[in-house]
Symmetry: C2
Subunit: 276 residues, 2 copies
C-alpha cells in the first residue's frame, strides 16, 4: 500500500526512536512505503532537521551500496543541563538519608520517564565511542544499565554478588569494599560477554569505588575492555578511590543540619563536561 | 517559533511514544508549536490513523475543559502473534538447559529491542485495567518490570530476597519455594508502594509459583491490590500451583532427546488469548 508523506514521517520517527544505532538502507523504507527513494531521501532531511531542532537526536547518512541512514540519540547541552537541574531538585525531595549515611534513590531509578532521559544523557556521552555492551552489578544498577543499553541499542549484562543456578558457568573476582571494609565476590555468566567486547560500566552509586573496581577486574578477566564508567550518584569519600576516571550525574553529600539531623546536599556531577 | 506540520507530526510522535498514558491538552501542543488548535486537531487525526494502521498504538481524545489526548501502547493481535513466534524461535537457540533443568534466558531478557516489544505486549494485555505500579523480585524479573512500566508509564518496584541497607524500613513475608522446597523471605521498602495501589506482578519464570505467591502476600501485606500476574516463561509443574491465574509468554519444557541430553520444547503461552 502506498503511504503518504505524513504517515511515512510518523512511522519513520517511531522506527528510528526504537532502533537507535541501526543502519537502515533507504530501499527498505522505499519498499515498505512503496515510495520513490528520492521521496524517502526528502523525508529523511525533514526528519533530521526536526530531531536536531528539538535537541533529541540526529540522522547520519552513509553513502554507497552498503550505506544507509542511522539514528543516534543525542541530548543537547541545554537539555542535559535541564535534566541535571531537575535531578538535583528531585534528589533532595523526601526523606532519603538512611542510618549509616546511605541514601535512598530507588524511587527515582524506578521511574521510567526519568530513566529514559538519564539513558539518553549517558548514551550521548558515549555516542562517539565503541560500546558493545553495558555491564552493571545487581540490584540497583540494573535499571540504569537497561536505560542506557536501550539508547545505545546494545545488550546489558548483570553481574551478581550471589550466584544464580540459572547462570551456568561463571567467572568471578574478589573485591574490597573500602566503605564497608568487607571482601566481596562478584560474578558474571561466562557466556554473557564475548572476549574483546567494549564494555560500558554503570552503577547507581560510587563511594570508595570498591565494587566498581571489582567490575573493572571482571571485565579484564573475561578479556574485554572498559569503554567507560558512569554512575548516577557520586558520594563523598575521604580516602583515595581505586577508580579515578568516571563520570557522575550527581554529587551527593550528607550534611548535618541545624537540628542535628542528616540532610542531603546535591550538586551536579561532572557528566555535563562531556556533553557538547 | 512557528512550526510546520511535518515537524509537528515528528515531534508529537516522539512525545507520545515517550509519554504513554499521559493526558495532554491540545493547547499545550498549540502553544508549543505556535499553531491553531484546529491544526493540532488535524495533526492528531493523521497521527492516530498512522499509529493504528501500523498496529502500534492509539490516541484517545477526552473532550471538555479538563480533556485532551492520550496515547496508549497497543500491539495488534497480528504483531503479538509475530512476537511470540519470534520468541519461541529465539528461546530454543543455543545451549540453555543448565544442570537441574534450569533454563538460561538472561541473554533474551538483556536485549533492549526484544524487551521493548515484550513490554508493549504485556502493556497491551493490561491497557484496559488500572495499574499504578509494577512489582517484581530481584534479579531476573527486573528488566521485564522496567520494560512493562515504560509502556504503562508507571513506576516499577523491586522486592529482594536479601536486604539492602539503602532500602530503609521494609515489609517482608516468608514463602515456600515448592520447586526447591526451601523457605525464603522477600521484602520491599515500605515507602515504595502507597496503600491502595493496583500492582501488576511480573517475573521471568514461574514453576511451582512459590515466589510469585510470596509477592502476592507482600502486596496484601502493604494494603495493595494485585492488578494481574504475567511471566515470561512458564515451566512445567506436576503438583498444584499456588498461583492459578496468570498469563505467560512462553511454555517451557525440558525434554530428553534421542542422545539422552536435555533439550528445550518451547510453545506459546496463554497471553495471546488476552490480546484482541
Amino acid at each position: 500500500m502506498k503511504v503518504r508523506r505524513a504517515e511515512r514521517l510518523i512511522d519513520m520517527t517511531r522506527y528510528f526512536l526504537e532502533h537507535p544505532q541501526t543502519l537502515v538502507s533507504l530501499s527498505v523504507f522505499a519498499s515498505k512505503y512503496e515510495a520513490a527513494k528520492s521521496s524517502v531521501s526528502e523525508d529523511l532531511t525533514i526528519l533530521n532537521r526536526a530531531l536536531q531542532n528539538r535537541g533529541v537526536g540526529k540522522l547520519t547518512t552513509y553513502p554507497g551500496a552498503a550505506g544507509g541512514v542511522m539514528f543516534t540519540t543525542y541530548m543537547s547541552k541545554q537539555n542535559a543541563q535541564k535534566l541535571i537541574d531537575k535531578l538535583c531538585e528531585e534528589a533532595v525531595k523526601g526523606d532519603r538519608v538512611m542510618p549509616g549515611g546511605y541514601v535512598y534513590f530507588s524511587d527515582i531509578l524506578g521511574r521510567p520517564e526519568i530513566l529514559r532521559e538519564i539513558g539518553k544523557l549517558i548514551a550521548t556521552e558515549y555516542s562517539n565511542k565503541k560500546v558493545d555492551a553495558v555491564l552493571t552489578v545487581a540490584v540497583k544498577g540494573i535499571s540504569l544499565a537497561q536505560a542506557v543499553a536501550e539508547q545505545l541499542n546494545v545488550p546489558f549484562v548483570i553481574a551478581r554478588q550471589d550466584g544464580a543456578v540459572t547462570d551456568g558457568a561463571t567467572v568471578s573476582v574478589n573485591y574490597l569494599s573500602k566503605s564497608s571494609s568487607e571482601i566481596g565476590k562478584i560474578q558474571v555468566a561466562s557466556r554473557a560477554l564475548p572476549a574483546g567486547s567494549h564494555v560500558l560500566l554503570v552503577d547507581d552509586f560510587i563511594k570508595g569505588g570498591g565494587t566498581m573496581s571489582g567490575l573493572v577486574d571482571l571485565v579484564h578477566e573475561i578479556y574485554c575492555e572498559v569503554a567507560g564508567i558512569t554512575v548516577f550518584g557520586e558520594g563523598r569519600y575521604t580516602g583515595v578511590r581505586k577508580i579515578k576516571e568516571f563520570t557522575s550525574l550527581l554529587h551527593v553529600e550528607t550534611v548535618t543540619n541545624d537540628d542535628d539531623q542528616l540532610d542531603l546536599k546535591i550538586t551536579p556531577g561532572n557528566i555535563l563536561d562531556k556533553i557538547y
